[in-house]
Amino acid sequence: MSSLGALFDRLGKQHRLWRNLFFAALVLLLGLNLMIRPEEAHFGWDAYPGAFAAFGLVVGFVLLLILEKIVRPLIARKEDFYGDI
């Protein structure tokens, strides 16, 4: 295994560290959003702090739930659905 591969191997095993860093980064971003706002709120709601965080979270939830729970069961077929083509 190359040194870069070994590094990736080590990083890949640090689940807890990555998760904690990720949560800390999210909190930091929300804190920054209290101070940094858009000059012009194009959507209206984006003037409020945390609006884009909520948007990303809600859209992520909705996309995954709709696609995995509703759309995929409707359109998934076996590999040979079209025959050998």
């Binding site: 999210l26 929300l30 965080a53 909520a54 948007f55 996309l63 995954l64 359109i75 998934a76």
Partner: protein
């Protein structure tokens, strides 16, 4: 008639395609790099204006319309051709390089075409070249996919041809210029449909995820860059400000990413994401302000770089491991760290992460759309941004590189080492993705339209907004990680309806033909066969009565003469002398009588 300030970038590729079959050995591979280098030199030295105007059938064929819009697309095509040829350098199949060369030549030709005639010729050249990039994967699956691809693009080409001919009949001109949305005629709509086929506008898009995953490894890298982006160029040239394109683009952005999130093979995920990313460009063109048109051009540039990088990374897995199926992959980050690194650069770029080029182009398009008060469309693009990050920024790299390989995935495939040039191609694209992200001006400098207030991607709010959006989309994915599983199989798309239409067409065409064929068979049976019987009887009678009599008579005569001759040959010398004497007298008498 090239001037000193314009050398058509297609030329080198066309020459390469012509001479390649005749070159022996393997050292010809180095020639593959020459046309891209010439194209780069050409693009950076050509002067704006109209070049290479040829008279043809009383029309002006313009092969070299050079302005800032054509230049930025030609520039990224030249860069991409260098990346692609570097990546494909060790492919031994000459056919693959010839197809790629014709394809790239067609793309350059389309970008510099100033009239519909030459545009159509180069447009079709692209179609032919790219079809062979699918065929040359040499499997039954790719042959059939290539046929469907060619069929669909032929239909698109016919729309374009019909539109340009009707347009010429109405206006007397083949000039390819901007068409105002107000008062557009039927022929303009036909041309638009022809362009939309290549741009993979939903629902005319299903050829793309059908064909791209089945192309050759290097072929897919070329294809992900040229077809849809050439279509983006012609849409920007001819249909800027068409509101319907903005709506179609928003639909593409969300629809494409929706499919990408639930697709099961890596190249199919990337193919669906092309539709989504081209949606951003269609929105920029449809909104039609200077900022959104610049955003569309910039995003096309960035997209070519990062999408080719992603296709190259996955292509390495296909070549080295033999599969890109998610359920069979996993745990490759430590085994293939450089490919992981290059893929990560591409996935962060496409996600619009700050420091990578997708960030400086995607946000520009969305900001321009919002500033032009197309709020709902801008919102759809934000939704697509979240979806892209989930599909290509998280799900795809997780399944391929970072998760532990599942025990039920079968025996671990043996890794076949790859040639250096494949890494070189990826490195080139990765460096450009980061360089443009860090220094956006190296891209913005070439944008075609002047804006009053230049877009500042690195403004604090823009960076924070991107990080908030992506960060919390990542949190949603983390919380719903139980939903992220692989599902072997295919997902239905509009190609289901294409096939239905194809079957219906066959039915509609075959039924009348079968009826006519049946009728003809009956007519033949009743009339034709009886007539043939009569003719046969007459022929037999003629044969027996006339032919046979003549032949038999001749045979009998020959036999009688033979028999007489045999009798005359008695073997007695006296008889022979007597007969000679009689013969002599007969001849003498005859000569005396005649004389």
């Amino acid at each position: 008639m090239a001037t000193s300030s314009f050398l058509h970038p297609s030329l080198g590729f066309l020459v390469l395609a012509v001479i390649l079959p005749f070159l022996p050995g393997r050292q010809w591979k180095w020639l593959l790099l020459i046309p891209p280098v010439i194209a780069l030199w050409s693009v950076f030295t050509m002067t704006p204006g109209v070049h290479a105007v040829l008279p043809y059938l009383g029309e002006q064929v313009i092969l070299g319309r050079v302005d800032r819009l054509s230049l930025i697309f030609a520039q990224v095509f030249a860069v991409m051709s260098l990346i692609g040829m570097t990546y494909a350098l060790n492919v031994p199949d000459k056919g693959s390089h010839i197809a790629a060369s014709l394809y790239v030549a067609g793309s350059f030709g389309s970008v510099f075409a100033g009239d519909y005639l030459s545009l159509f010729v180069f447009w079709e050249l692209m179609s032919i070249g790219s079809t062979f990039l699918i065929f040359l994967n040499r499997s039954r699956e790719s042959t059939l996919a290539g046929f469907r691809y060619f069929l669909f693009h032929t239909v698109g080409g016919l729309f374009l041809l019909g539109g340009l001919l009707l347009r010429h009949q109405a206006t007397g001109s083949f000039a390819f210029d901007h068409i105002p949305a107000d008062g557009a005629a039927l022929y303009d709509w036909l041309i638009l449909i022809g362009f939309c086929v290549n741009a993979a506008v939903v629902p005319l898009h299903a050829w793309l995820p059908d064909a791209y995953p089945r192309a050759t490894v290097a072929g897919a890298v070329f294809m992900c860059a040229f077809t849809t982006k050439t279509a983006v160029y012609v849409l920007a040239r001819g249909f800027a400000g068409w509101e319907i394109l903005a709506v179609a683009g928003a639909v593409m952005a969300v629809y494409g990413v929706g499919h990408a999130i639930i697709a099961n093979s890596a190249r199919r995920i990337l193919a669906y994401d092309i539709i989504s990313q081209v949606g951003y460009m269609a929105v920029g063109i449809g909104v039609g302000t200077a900022m959104t048109l610049d955003g569309a051009a910039a995003h096309a540039y960035a997209h070519i770089l990062y999408k080719s990088l992603l296709f190259m990374s996955i292509g390495c897995l296909i070549q080295g491991l033999g599969t890109d199926r998610l359920e069979k992959l996993g745990g490759l980050a430590s085994r293939l760290p450089w490919i992981t690194l290059f893929f990560t650069v591409g996935s962060l770029s496409i996600s619009g992460m700050p420091l990578f080029n997708g960030f400086v182009t995607k946000t520009m398009t969305i900001a321009g759309t919002a500033a032009a008060h197309h709020t709902a469309i801008a919102l759809a693009l934000e939704v697509a941004t979240v979806g892209t990050f989930i599909a290509v920024g998280i799900r795809l790299p997780y399944f391929v590189f970072w998760r532990r390989r599942p025990a039920d995935a079968g025996p671990e495939p043996v890794w076949k080492p790859l040639p250096w040039n494949m890494y070189a191609g990826m490195a080139l694209a990765a460096v450009l993705c980061i360089a443009q992200g860090v220094h956006p001006d190296m891209l913005y400098h070439f944008l075609p339209y002047a804006v009053d207030v230049p877009y500042e991607p690195w403004a604090a709010w823009n960076v924070l907004q991107a990080l908030l959006l992506l960060g919390f989309a990542g949190l949603a994915t983390y919380l719903l990680r139980g939903l992220l599983v692989t599902h072997p199989g295919v997902n239905l798309d509009f190609d289901y309806f294409y096939r239905l239409i194809g079957k219906a067409l066959l039915f509609v065409i075959c039924r009348p033909i079968a009826w006519i064929d049946g009728l003809w068979s009956e007519v033949y049976r009743v009339i034709g066969l009886n007539a043939l019987k009569v003719l046969g009887w007459v022929s037999a009678w003629f044969d027996r009565s006339v032919i046979d009599c003549m032949v038999d008579g001749s045979a009998i005569t020959v036999s009688d003469v033979g028999r007489l001759g045999a009798k005359l040959q008695s073997g007695n010398l006296q008889n022979y002398l007597a007969m000679t004497g009689v013969l002599f007298l007969l001849i003498f008498g005859l000569v005396w009588y005649l004389g």
